[in-house]
Amino acid sequence: MLAQSTASEERKFLELKPFSDEMVVSMGPQHPSTHGVLRLELRLDGEIVREAIPHIGYLHRCFEKHAENLSYQQIVPFTDRMDYIAAMNQNWGFCLAVEELMSADPKFAGVPERAEYLRVLAGELNRIASHLLAFGTYGMDIGAFTPFLYAFRDREKILLLFEKLCGARLTYNYIRVGGVSRDLPPGFLDDVREFIDYFEPKIDEYNALLTNNKIFLERTVGVAIMDEAMAISYGATGPNLRGAGRKWDLRKDEPYSIYDRFDFDIPVGEEIPEAGAVLGDCWNRYKVRMDEMKESVKIIRQVLDGGLPDGPIVAAMKAIRPPAGEVFSRSEAPRGELGFYIVSDGSVKPVRLKAKSPCFCALSALQELSRGLMIADIIAIIGSIDIVMGEVDR
């Protein structure tokens, strides 16, 4: 059994040493639970993982280079393909950056009120869809197949809502620079209300089914602790940071759009000594997502109760031609802080575009997290940091 081409020579040597107990295994890029095309090079001693080296790039599409040859509006569909589980939030993050760049232009009137509400509605719905997928696939990683189908059943309802809203189910291209692409279809708000009324009790059901399940606790509680210092040093954000106990959410701490108008909490991980739950373990990272779904429901309910203001849905402008300059803007995507760095020379195309991917940061912690654990724990970690390879590789 020869090793596949490995990163370093000494590991090749290890593999060929006849009396070594260690075995090098390539997990992925085709593997049921590496969430896409992540490849892990595992150095195993029996079931114990001595080292797990992530290899990325199987889904690299040169998004950032492509973007230099596209007009700003043409870039939006490309952002859909980054984190395809939460495409709305990716659109939004990019548009926020461009709008910040354009705000230096006196002719740009800013995003209309109604569009902001529509963005919040779409963004939070997509956050629920994204966390539902994280919940479902995490259950499947741990070995419970049924939660996955429950999650997909509910996610389907959100996708149907999005289909009504913008005609697409996965790559929405809905949020545009200066607003959104379409207004609400008739009866849409009633559908949304129907969905959240249906969905809110389901979260407790899922908690009873999986979150507090004895075996699930055994598998996740106290496993792979990424404490606050470690999370910050790796640049992990979103649920991974909050699971470690740091109350940090851009929607609250640096409110963008209209998030300062809504009342919601930031769920953080908690230490539960009687269950053995530690801040920053797999269970806490997962639990934060479950709690965040409730908060998103809260926000959506406030949008629906408050009613949407009338008015245009997109800022009137002749062309998206931001003034020369550079900007780094970030927003809270379901998987963490999504940043866009854009340099403009005043033309219709960016000179340089760079995306800061939350999944990439979280993935980089995998190597340290997984040392000394078991194969089954690696799966638990990958699921709990909830990566989407489309965003890691871009």
Binding site: V25, M140, I142, A144, F145, E218, G222, A275, G276
Partner: protein, 458 residues
């Protein structure tokens, strides 16, 4: 006419139920109906040829009929999982999707027979046959009714245990010969798991053997049709005298056999590699475990063997603990024994499926903990308890049955109380410090080491 028929029938029955250990005239010890049949009708042939002929016919019938069970079970699994998961399951092939498994089987037969170039070709081909044979050979000793039993071995249950442990070897061969690291992992896990869980299975069965004082499957069934079937009816229900054969089932005979039933059932789930103990084929970890490299009909053979195993362990549980083919009300057998044991078995299979589609999977160390730290001590306790029980109650009496029923009820009520009290609450995690899973006690220690390591890396 009727008399004639019944006398013929009696004759046949006597043929079928020849005592196993009868060092009698002519027939060798352990001789059975096959031998009797052979000597009766194929007497013109030398003895062993007749026997071989008869056994070949029986084996052919079994190999043809038994795969129907997996066929049904696969469909049942898909339908049960569909109901649990809010779906409808297969609906297209045949009415209500009934022919889906058949269609899948046909598809698998027509698939190309792939053998990986680096595989050990002989062992790769051999492994499915070994597993298939062993899991089917188990059926030979399970009594499906008074008359449907291939061979009533005097060591029936021992034969079943030994034959079914050969499956582990087949799994290892499959994993090793595939020359894939994932297959090997699955095989090693499977070997460790099957070997470990055979101990609680064997020990639980031992309690039954102690109660029944025989290893013959037929004898164990007969032992569950004892004193109370003859005696006074316990209650009269709608004119039917309930003579309490249900209390003669092994599971209710003593509190220890009651416990042993659950130990057996839990361990048998592990034995047949199903969730929450499906580590050898853990899809999310090992792709497909030991049969990763198999495709087409060879894969189907694994699949059939797996479900045949599921059925076999449930049928054994039904035979050993739930009275076998005997009915609930009395021994008159309104309903044929075959239907009764199938009903009991399918109930147990359903519970297995229910568990499979509800629970997540344990980790390797937790799996071993459960076996060695909990199930095996409980089994030993059972054996001790059964011995003491047998010392006090040599024969089943109203006292022993009543006492056992009382203890069992107390046990069940207390368990239910614990379950409902802790429902929805967080339960303390097991304090295992192995491989990063920590309990509250080790929390601080682990945290400091973690911080140290983290600090060093900076």
């Amino acid at each position: 006419m009727v008399q004639q028929l019944s006398s013929q029938f009696l004759h046949l029955t006597s043929l079928l139920s020849v005592e196993t250990v009868t060092p009698s005239e002519g027939s060798a010890p352990g001789g059975n109906w096959a031998q009797a049949f052979a000597s009766q009708f194929l007497g013109f042939l030398p003895g062993w040829i007749g026997l071989v002929l008869v056994m070949s016919v029986v084996a052919a019938v079994f190999v043809a009929v038994v795969p129907l069970v997996p066929l049904v079970l696969v469909l049942m699994e898909r339908k049960v999982s569909a109901w649990i998961q809010d779906r409808v399951g297969p609906m297209r092939v045949g009415p209500w999707g009934l022919l889906q498994t058949l269609a899948d089987g046909v598809k698998l037969i027509f698939k190309e027979d792939l053998i990986p170039p680096q595989a050990d070709k002989f062992l790769f081909r051999f492994a499915p046959y070994l597993i298939f044979t062993c899991s089917f050979a188990v059926f030979a000793a399970i009594p499906f009714s008074q008359r449907i039993l291939v061979s009533d071995l005097n060591i029936g249950i021992f034969y079943i245990i030994s034959i079914s442990s050969v499956v582990a070897i087949g799994v290892i061969i499959a994993g090793w010969s595939s020359n894939s690291k994932w297959s090997l992992f699955g095989a090693m896990r499977s070997a460790a798991q099957m070997v470990s869980y055979e101990i609680p299975i064997g020990l639980s069965i031992l309690t039954v053997i102690m109660m029944a004082q025989t290893m013959s499957m037929e004898g164990i069934v007969a032992a569950q049709n004892g004193a109370f079937a003859e005696g006074e009816p316990i209650i009269t229900l709608l004119g039917v005298e309930v003579k309490g054969t249900i209390l003669d089932w092994m599971i209710f005979r003593s509190p220890f056999t009651f416990l042993a039933f659950f130990v057996y059932f839990l361990s048998s789930i592990a034995e047949v590699n199903r969730t929450p103990f499906d580590l050898p084929e853990a899809e999310s970890e090992l792709v497909a475990g030991f049969h990763t490299e198999y495709s087409g009909m060879r894969f189907a053979v694994f699949f059939i063997a797996e479900y045949a195993n599921v059925f076999a362990v449930c049928a054994i549980a039904a035979t050993l603990f739930l009275g076998g083919w005997q009915g609930i009300i009395d021994e008159d057998q309104f309903i044929p024994g075959l239907l009764i044991i199938f009903g009991k078995t399918f109930l147990l299979v359903f519970v297995m499926m229910w568990i499979r589609w509800t629970l997540p999977r344990l980790r390797v160390d937790q799996l071993m903990n459960l076996c060695w730290k909990y199930l095996i001590p409980i089994s030993f306790f059972n054996i001790l308890g059964t011995g003491i029980w047998g010392l006090f109650f040599r024969e089943d009496s109203a006292l022993s049955i009543g006492l056992s029923f009382l203890i069992i009820s107390l046990f069940v009520v207390s368990i239910l109380g614990i379950v409902f009290n802790s429902f929805g609450k967080l339960k303390p995690a097991d304090q295992t410090a192995l491989a990063g899973n920590i309990g509250a006690a080790n929390l601080q220690k682990l945290k400091t080491t973690w911080n140290e390591r983290h600090g060093q890396q900076k």
